[in-house]
């Protein structure tokens, strides 16, 4: 069972760079953990802190990079992140959505996301929303110009509502949407088709025995 996502009215933070890779979202030294939780303090570690982070450190004692946008006081508590093209590219590490979710984010809004990251996000109650580049540009401008900028996201209605009342529609696969709205466990859903999987497997084994050595 994952956290369901239905709607959110949340503070927005802008991360104005393209091709943010999953190595940047959560650096490799933190991938040695055998747990799913606790990655939030190390989200964007190399950009967020002035020193080099190590697993098991007390992160509250580390020097913060004042130039990194998410360290600015006005963006503390942000639940929605504006991103640029190809966010989440690179490594398939699911530690990236784990870190973002643990950091407090529930929604990402950008013109495009890398495929594996996009998929991983849905499995963790983190909603990536693709909007036209022009819409995203406007959100960046509004967010940077207005302290305390918030957006309202409604997954069931597939809408993002701006403070000025403009409602932006977004697309999402019907199946992913249902799963996220209900917090359904994919494995449980798939196992409803257990008989079909067994039948497929038996037929494949008969037709292509060399794959079942």
């Amino acid at each position: 069972m994952m956290n369901p996502f239905t709607q959110l009215d949340g503070l927005v933070a802008p991360l104005d760079r393209a091709n943010v890779d999953t190595d940047a979202i959560i650096p490799k030294q933190f991938l040695k953990s055998i747990k799913r939780s606790g990655f939030g303090p190390n989200a964007f570690d190399e950009w967020r802190y002035l020193d080099v982070g190590q697993p098991g450190q007390d992160n509250s004692q580390r020097p913060l990079n004042p130039d990194f946008v998410l360290n600015q006081p006005r963006y503390q508590g942000a639940q929605i992140l504006l991103t640029r093209d190809n966010f989440g590219c690179g490594s398939s590490r699911e530690h990236a959505p784990w870190a973002l979710e643990d950091f407090g984010l529930r929604v990402l809004i950008g013109p495009s996301f890398a495929d594996i990251f996009f998929n991983n996000s849905f499995k963790n109650g983190l909603l990536p929303i693709r909007l036209d580049a022009a819409e995203v540009d406007e959100l960046f401008l509004q967010c940077e110009a207005n302290e305390g900028y918030r957006l309202a996201v409604d997954l069931a209605a597939q809408t993002v509502t701006r403070p000025d009342g403009k409602v932006i529609h977004f697309e999402v696969d019907a199946f992913r949407k249902e799963c996220l709205l209900n917090g359904w466990d994919d494995i449980g859903l798939t196992l409803r088709h257990e008989d079909k999987i067994r039948a497929f497997e038996a037929q494949r084994r008969a037709q292509h025995p060399y794959y079942f050595a």
Binding site: I34, D85, N86, S92, A114, R176, T190, P209, Y211
Partner: protein, 469 residues
């Protein structure tokens, strides 16, 4: 029947069930497992009281965390050791087709050991909790990287939830020039279409230049499909594919081999198959490539210069270039050949196979590491690659050149073990990602071919390998 692409053939032969919106359950033939992305999946399985569906689909190894020297000491980093021991315990508990633990003679990088043991076969669906799983597409597999939730899903159900991708044909025709390798071809492709050019697509690589590559070269190309944004890259079956697989440990034998080969020969796109998009390159135009920035698309030719952001109109792109140059410590318009390197890394799932080591050794032979280069690491992709290289005497060539000959593993491609760059150090690397901090916090990575890496090692700066041989 209408003409079909290879991707359509692989897709349709694995669909178990389809939802109304096109989300499908795809049957998985081969599940590759390593220590970094699997522990949470095993734990999830246990917590839910679920059993693995078909353990004979699993081939596992420890590669990301393992040291590449002093194996007699074991794994000294306690956090890394715990992760590897967790994999040991999980594999003991559930079983597998094959498990190559730390220090096993056949241990190695997961994307090297699958093919070399014949565990990757044409027509299979292959998944692994690692984005470079696209490598296996070189064998006409539908192969892609998955997250840890999906690792657990595949273990529990032998299926993956997937939506069909669009198809992109990247056709490279013509004869590559001397000194131009598979790595240069794929970097040139990424330079052309960009790191998001393949997002939403499955890429098929075709054309005479791709056909003329060995399986090692084809794996290098498919490996970096993910760096072009595509989860899957693939190449149709031909005689080269079949010759490579014959006689390997898990390849079918006897009558089953004949039966398999007859099917495998159908695993290529039909002549008049339609792709959603086609990109064409002329191999004769491709020169040795060197990346200058922090994304694989930030690439130029060895005779080129570091680009000038001031010439770029798009502000997001311009700022990205400025940030990259600042991180890389490079000035616009610098000649690539004037950039000196501190370290050289020859290895990774992109370029650590026997052919890669031969190409590097051919350049290193009779030469020495340049004085300004602190260290040259040569890390074979697996124990079997290492043994073969030693049988061919390649290790002696490397050691005579003052290169370090190491034990197999992922090593400085992602620097989870002790092999890493210090802040500000610059590296010529045969790996696949030049992201900030990828090879160590503050490290600066330039992606190149094995021959170009060896050339940088002996000259101390990037050098057109064609001028050396």
């Amino acid at each position: 029947m209408a003409a079909r692409t290879l991707y359509e053939k692989l897709w349709s032969s694995h669909v178990v069930h389809e939802e109304a919106d096109g989300t499908a359950l795809i049957y998985i033939d081969r599940h590759l497992v390593h220590e970094v992305t699997s522990p949470q999946a095993f734990e999830g399985l246990k917590l839910a009281g679920r059993k693995p569906w078909r353990v004979s689909s699993i081939v596992a190894t420890a590669d990301h965390n393992t040291p590449t020297d002093h194996w007699e000491r074991g794994i000294e980093d306690p956090v890394s050791r715990q992760q590897v021991e967790t994999l040991d315990a999980n594999m003991r508990e559930i079983g597998s087709l094959a498990y190559f633990p730390f220090r096993d003679a056949r241990q190695g990088i997961v994307h090297v050991i699958g093919p070399e043991n014949g565990a990757t076969l044409p027509g299979m669906t292959v998944v692994c909790g690692d984005s470079h799983t696209s490598t296996h597409g070189a064998f006409a597999c539908l192969a892609h990287g998955i997250g840890t939730s999906e690792v657990e899903h595949v273990m529990a159900t032998q299926c993956l939830l997937q939506k069909k991708s669009k198809t992109l044909l990247v056709r490279v025709d013509g004869q590559p020039g001397r000194g131009v390798s598979a790595k240069d071809i794929v970097l040139a492709i990424i330079g052309k279409i960009g790191t998001a050019g393949g997002t939403g697509y499955a890429i098929e690589f075709g054309g005479s230049a791709i056909r003329s590559l060995s399986m090692e070269g084809r794996m290098t190309v498919c490996n970096m499909a993910i760096e072009a944004g595509a989860r899957a890259g693939m190449i149709g079956v031909d005689q080269t594919t079949i010759d490579y697989l014959k006689g390997r440990a898990f390849s079918p034998k006897g009558e089953l081999w004949e039966q398999a080969v007859a099917y495998w020969r159908t695993l290529k796109s039909d002549d008049d198959a339609q792709f959603d998009k086609v990109v064409e390159l002329d191999a004769a135009d491709i020169q040795p490539q060197v990346t200058w920035g922090t994304s694989p698309e930030m690439v130029t030719t060895v005779d080129g210069r570091v680009p000038d952001p001031a010439t770029v109109a798009d502000p997001v792109r311009r700022e990205g270039m400025e940030r990259a140059l600042k991180y890389m410590g490079l000035a616009p318009n610098t000649l690539i050949t004037e950039i000196a390197v501190d370290q050289v890394f020859i290895g990774s799932c992109t370029n650590s196979r026997i052919e890669d080591l031969r190409e590097a050794a051919a350049v290193a032979k009779g030469r020495k590491k340049a004085a300004n280069v602190k260290r040259v690491l040569v890390v074979p992709g697996s124990g079997l690659v290492k043994r073969q290289a030693e049988e061919e005497g390649l290790h002696e060539i490397f050691m005579a050149a003052d290169f370090e000959w190491r034990e197999p593993g992922c090593s400085m491609c992602l620097a989870m073990n002790a092999d890493r760059l210090e802040p500000g150090e610059r590296c010529a690397s045969t790996s696949n990602r030049n992201f900030e901090g990828r090879q160590g916090a503050g490290g600066r990575t330039h992606l190149v071919s094995p021959a170009m890496a060896a050339a940088a090692a002996v000259m101390g700066h990037f050098t057109d390998v064609r001028q050396l041989s």
